[in-house]
Structure formats: structure tokens, C-alpha cells
């Protein structure tokens, strides 16, 4: 991924979610503004044959993995042209053929599924790696322990990425999780762990790249904690309860602004280029919306399709 593509993808996620949020028919959504660098950094480390899984907070991951924004928008707006025919929606977005094995809205519930996908990769002697994104909230769940243990024993090609945005709904991480660093949870199992700044896309990508290569070479799983912050409320129907100052301070660390400044300083993002990319992103989002709008809803009669 080129530096500009990284920045573009983060911007795409932000603007895509903003456009979606403006729609009265958007339904229940979980946004990832503030956390773009985590998804984009991790995907920057993945190859085409690798696959990504994530939690219900799935828009950033799906777009970072390179899904067509129009397909994602169609799925989120319940259109039958979405990759899941409009049945999955936000919490269950998936397009395995594009390297996105999908979202799963059970906190912690995606971890052992991801390990199973990694087991399949291993058994099929593919050199593919599975990366799974989950929140700090999932670190309280026993599923993490069971997955770490088996993944370590069987040296599964699995990268566990904790997007620690500091909250599980309204509960601060410190009230729910005893460990000082969440990546410490890997240690007893002999699994390498690292904690990086999740608002720094290059830090995420660098750490992820090392762990992905490790997994690819057969050395087994790893745990990457990315410390981020969520700018939006937990969901579109959740009230905000975080301190205003905390939120304001976090917004100053916006990963998109930050990476944009880095690129500017390095002379890689001129004003002109910035404008061009912003326009392209706006067009992509507009196109996604208009394509979705033009697409049909599923018919009630499809309710019993794809059950068995």
C-alpha cells in the first residue's frame, strides 16, 4: 500500500461513515471514526490470500480490506446487491472472496472462529494468515484465553489484533480489565505480544507486518494491542457518557490528520494532491450511496432462503 493509499483509505472510512450516518434509514450502526489507523494498518500488512475477520464494528475493516464501498453501502442499507444480499448488515458484513471473512457481532465470539479459519489454512498448507480484530471488551471474555492456548499449542497462523479504544460501551477499560497492558495476556502462553499507538497507522502496520510474517513462516500466533479511541458514541443508538475533555483531547490525535501532516512534512501530500484525493473519496462515497439507493431491497419471500 502506498502512503497516499493509506491516507486515502482512512479518509474513505471517515467520510463513508459520515455519509451513512446522515441517512435517516441507516438503522443501527457502529462507527469506527478515530480507529481508522488500526484497520488500515493491519490490512496494510496482509497479502491478498490472507483473510481478515472483525467484530460488529466492521465498516472500517471492510473498507480497509479493499471491499468496494458501493457493495458495503448496499449491504449496510439492506439492499440485496450487498455481498450478503442485505441479510448480514453492519454486524455480519462478509466477502470471503475478497479476503474479508467477515464480521461477527458476538464480543469474543469471533476469536475461536478465526482460530478455526487459521487451522483450515494450516491444514490446507496454504501460506495464508488470518488477522482478527476485536475490542478491549473482548479481553474479559474466556474465549480469548481458550483461543490463545490452542493457537499457541498448534502454532496457528493467526494475528490477534485488539483495537483497544478504551471502552466497552460505556465501561472504561480499567473498570473491566485488570491487566496493565492487554498484550500481556499473551505472555503466559509464550505468544509474542506488543502494544502500539493505534492512532499511528505506520506503527500499527509495522508491528502487524512483523507478526504476519512470523505467522506465515509457521512460527504461530501473536497478539497486537493498538491503543485507539472512538470519536463517535458506541452505536448510533447509544448515549454519550465519556468526559467531554477526554473526547476533545482524543480528537486532537486524529489518525487521519496526523498521518496527513506526516505525509505533508515528508513532501508526499501536496495541497493539490490532498484536494484530488478528497474529491475522489467524496465521489466514491457518493457513488456508493447512489448505487445503493438504486438497488432493490430483498423481497419478503426471501426470508427462508439460505437457511440450510
Amino acid at each position: 500500500m502506498t502512503p497516499i493509499d493509506r491516507w486515502r483509505t482512512m479518509l474513505l472510512i471517515r467520510k463513508f461513515e459520515e455519509a451513512l450516518d446522515r441517512r435517516p434509514d441507516r438503522g443501527f450502526q457502529l462507527f469506527s471514526s478515530g480507529e481508522e489507523a488500526v484497520a488500515v494498518g493491519v490490512c496494510g500488512a496482509l497479502a491478498g490470500d490472507d483473510t481478515l475477520m472483525c467484530s460488529g464494528r466492521s465498516i472500517g475493516p471492510a473498507l480497509a480490506r479493499g471491499l468496494d464501498p458501493a457493495d458495503v453501502m448496499a449491504e449496510l442499507l439492506g439492499r440485496s446487491t450487498g455481498p450478503c444480499k442485505g441479510k448480514g448488515g453492519r454486524a455480519h458484513l462478509a466477502q470471503p472472496s475478497a479476503g474479508f471473512f467477515g464480521a461477527h457481532a458476538v464480543v469474543g465470539g469471533n476469536l475461536c472462529i478465526a482460530a478455526g479459519v487459521a487451522l483450515a489454512m494450516q491444514r490446507q498448507r496454504r501460506s495464508s494468515v488470518v488477522a482478527v480484530l476485536f475490542g478491549d471488551g473482548a479481553c474479559g471474555s474466556g474465549a480469548l484465553h481458550e483461543t490463545l492456548n490452542i493457537a499457541a499449542l498448534w502454532k496457528l497462523p493467526l494475528l490477534l489484533v485488539c483495537d483497544n479504544n478504551g471502552y466497552s460501551v460505556a465501561t472504561p477499560r480499567a473498570a473491566a480489565l485488570a491487566p496493565r497492558q492487554l498484550s500481556d495476556l499473551a505472555k503466559p502462553f509464550g505468544i509474542p505480544g506488543a502494544t502500539v499507538d493505534g492512532m499511528d497507522v505506520m506503527a500499527v502496520e509495522g508491528a502487524a507486518r512483523a507478526f504476519v510474517e512470523r505467522a506465515r513462516s509457521g512460527s504461530g500466533p501473536s497478539l497486537l494491542e493498538c491503543v485507539s479511541y472512538r470519536f463517535a458514541t458506541h452505536s448510533t443508538s447509544t448515549r454519550e457518557t465519556r468526559p467531554a475533555e477526554e473526547l476533545a483531547a482524543a480528537k486532537l490525535r486524529c489518525p487521519i490528520v496526523r498521518y496527513g501532516i506526516e505525509l505533508e512534512t515528508a513532501g508526499q501530500l501536496t495541497a493539490q494532491l490532498r484536494e484530488k484525493v478528497e474529491r475522489e473519496v467524496d465521489e466514491a462515497v457518493d457513488r456508493a450511496i447512489s448505487r445503493a439507493e438504486a438497488a432493490p431491497y430483498p423481497d419478503r419471500s426471501e426470508v427462508l432462503d439460505d437457511v440450510l
Binding site: G89, R90, A91, T171, A176, V303, L304
Partner: protein, 329 residues
């Protein structure tokens, strides 16, 4: 209710009725405590715990990690050791993660210890669909009805939510209190005086003569909508709100069905091995010749897609159509 002067009531939202019951119970009984995700300062996903942390402090109103198995296990263990915890499981789908301590320990500890221990825990959980998709919409209360040792309640009105929660917090053993996402914002009259609603008693919500609809939780409201439609066509429905699913108040259902001669069971969950299958069997033990039909979700996961969600779940029209068909059969 006796024939005395009508009791003074106050209008409360369903969520407020829950908070009120907890407030009174926690005031009266030091052993009552609340464990759950975001139940403290945040006040619960449906605001049903608002005010408790201010009144009773963070020792008795505890935010937990996302760890349903341990949450229920802790509640169950604390209950067996003399406390009266209420454990909040925000989505009934995730009750699955905590079934081991609930079913394999709480429901059996009285039996297996020959009465030495009992685990009077209340597991409060929210069933039903409201746009959140396949893993946040399920109704699995029928599973619990087949677990000896568990009491299961599922109120449909603020008054019953209040009164049944009061009873649950004083019960001898474990109680699963099932509410519903679509009920929290509904309002209803609740007696001003403190009191409780007994566990194990159904209630007739609407009087009618042609058919009995036996249902619970949010579907009670959908049944009422269907009954109003049918009334316009001259069909008179009696609605029995089960309120408690275990133990089932079969007598009240039978009394109604004996008069109407026809039974429709209605639930939001799956029909296979569901609440309706059980009620139908029990009613026909007493009244073998009544006509029976059952309604539930279609046999598919419940999508967050509004069209597919509504196609899957019972609605007034499906109920009305079922009643019409049953009455001509």
C-alpha cells in the same frame, strides 16, 4: 384483585418499573445487588438501571467485563452463599454463554446438595428483535422451560415487570426474568403502593369469546393489535398473557379455552419445541377436542434487514389470518 376501591396508579415506562422494583428491593434487602455490563453510571442499555448506582453505590451496582459465563457464575455463587444478586445479560442470545452456571449449577444445586444450598439469583435478560440482526434477536425462553429448578417469568406490562421482579428477588431459587427490547419504551399504569405480582399466574388481558390467544412478553401487544382488527370483523379474541413460563399456569389457559373452544399460541421465538408446543400439549391433556394453531417466527435466523426481520416475525396480520383459518376449520 378484590372488589375493593381501585388502587391508585402511576404511569411508568417499562424500564422505570424495573428500576423501581430494584430500588425497593435494594432498600429492603441488603443482600440484593446488581451485576452487569454498563449497569452502573451508564444505567443500563435500556436505562432500566438508572439511579441505582447513586442510591446504592458501586459496591452493590457493579459494572462487569463482557464475560457472561463468569457474570452468571458469580451471581449464582454469591446467591448460594447468601446474597440475592440480579445479573443482567443484555441480550438473551448471550445467555447461551452463561448456561453452564445457570443450568448445571444454579438449577441443580438445591437438588444435588439435598436442600443444603439454594441459589436465589435473578438473571434478567432481554429477548427479541429490534433491528440488530441474527445474534441479537433470539428468544430462547423455551429452552429454560425444560430445566427443572428454574423459574422463568416474561412480563408484558410495566406493572407486571415491577411486580414480578419484586417476587423474583424474593424467590427461593433461581429465576430468569425475560424482558424485551421493544417493551422498555412502552408505558403503563403501575400501582402507587408497593406490592408484587405472584409467580406462576397468567392473566386474561382481553376478554373474548371466539378464540383464546395464549402468549407472553411483547407478543401480548401484537396479539392485542390483531384482536382489535379481528373485532372489526366480528371475531372476539381472548388474550391470556402467560407472564410466568415456568411453572406454566395451565389452569388459566384451560379455563379460557374451555369457554372459547379454540387456542392459538403465539410467541416471537421459534415454534419447534417452543412455548406454544408445550401449552398446546398441556391444554389438550385437559381439553382434547379444542382446535389449536400456533404462531412463531418463521424457521430462519432474524436478519437486521427490516424487510426480512418483519417477514420472519409474527405480526398482527399473520395472527389475524391464523385465527380466521382456525375458526373456519
Amino acid at each position: 384483585m378484590s372488589s375493593e376501591a381501585p388502587r391508585a396508579t402511576v404511569k411508568l415506562f417499562f424500564r422505570e418499573a424495573i428500576a423501581r422494583a430494584l430500588t425497593e428491593a435494594m432498600r429492603d434487602d441488603e443482600r440484593v445487588m446488581v451485576l452487569g455490563q454498563d449497569v452502573g453510571r451508564f444505567g443500563g442499555s435500556y436505562k432500566e438501571f438508572v439511579g441505582l448506582i447513586d442510591a446504592f453505590g458501586p459496591e452493590r451496582v457493579r459494572d462487569t467485563p463482557v464475560a457472561e459465563a463468569a457474570m452468571i457464575g458469580l451471581g449464582v455463587g454469591a446467591a448460594a452463599a447468601g446474597m440475592r444478586p440480579l445479573v443482567s445479560i443484555t441480550y438473551m442470545d448471550f445467555l447461551m454463554l452463561g448456561l453452564d452456571p445457570l443450568v448445571n449449577y444454579a438449577a441443580k444445586v438445591r437438588y444435588k446438595t439435598g436442600g443444603q444450598l439454594t441459589a436465589p439469583v435473578v438473571v434478567k435478560t432481554t429477548a427479541g428483535a429490534k433491528g440488530q440482526g441474527v445474534a441479537h434477536s433470539q428468544c430462547i425462553e423455551a429452552w429454560l422451560m425444560g430445566v427443572p429448578g428454574l423459574v422463568v417469568v416474561a412480563p408484558s406490562t410495566p406493572a407486571d415487570a415491577y411486580g414480578l421482579l419484586k417476587s423474583a428477588l424474593r424467590a427461593q431459587g433461581p429465576v430468569v426474568f425475560v424482558d424485551h427490547k421493544r417493551l422498555f419504551p412502552t408505558a403503563g399504569e403501575v400501582p402507587v403502593d408497593e406490592g408484587s405480582v405472584p409467580i406462576g399466574r397468567a392473566v386474561v388481558r382481553r376478554r373474548g369469546t371466539d378464540v383464546t390467544i395464549a402468549t407472553h412478553s411483547y407478543m401480548t401487544r401484537v396479539a392485542d393489535e390483531a384482536a382489535s382488527r379481528l373485532a372489526a370483523e366480528g371475531v372476539s379474541c381472548e388474550i391470556v398473557d402467560l407472564r410466568t413460563l415456568a411453572p406454566l399456569d395451565v389452569a388459566t389457559v384451560c379455563e379460557s379455552v374451555a369457554a372459547t373452544g379454540a387456542l392459538v399460541t403465539l410467541e416471537e421465538g421459534q415454534t419447534a419445541c417452543g412455548v406454544g408446543a408445550e401449552i398446546s400439549f398441556r391444554v389438550r391433556e385437559a381439553l382434547p377436542d379444542v382446535r389449536v394453531a400456533r404462531i412463531g417466527a418463521l424457521p430462519a435466523p432474524v436478519s437486521s434487514n427490516p424487510i426480512l426481520e418483519s417477514a420472519c416475525l409474527p405480526d398482527a396480520e399473520r395472527i389475524a389470518e391464523t385465527v380466521r383459518r382456525l375458526l373456519v376449520s
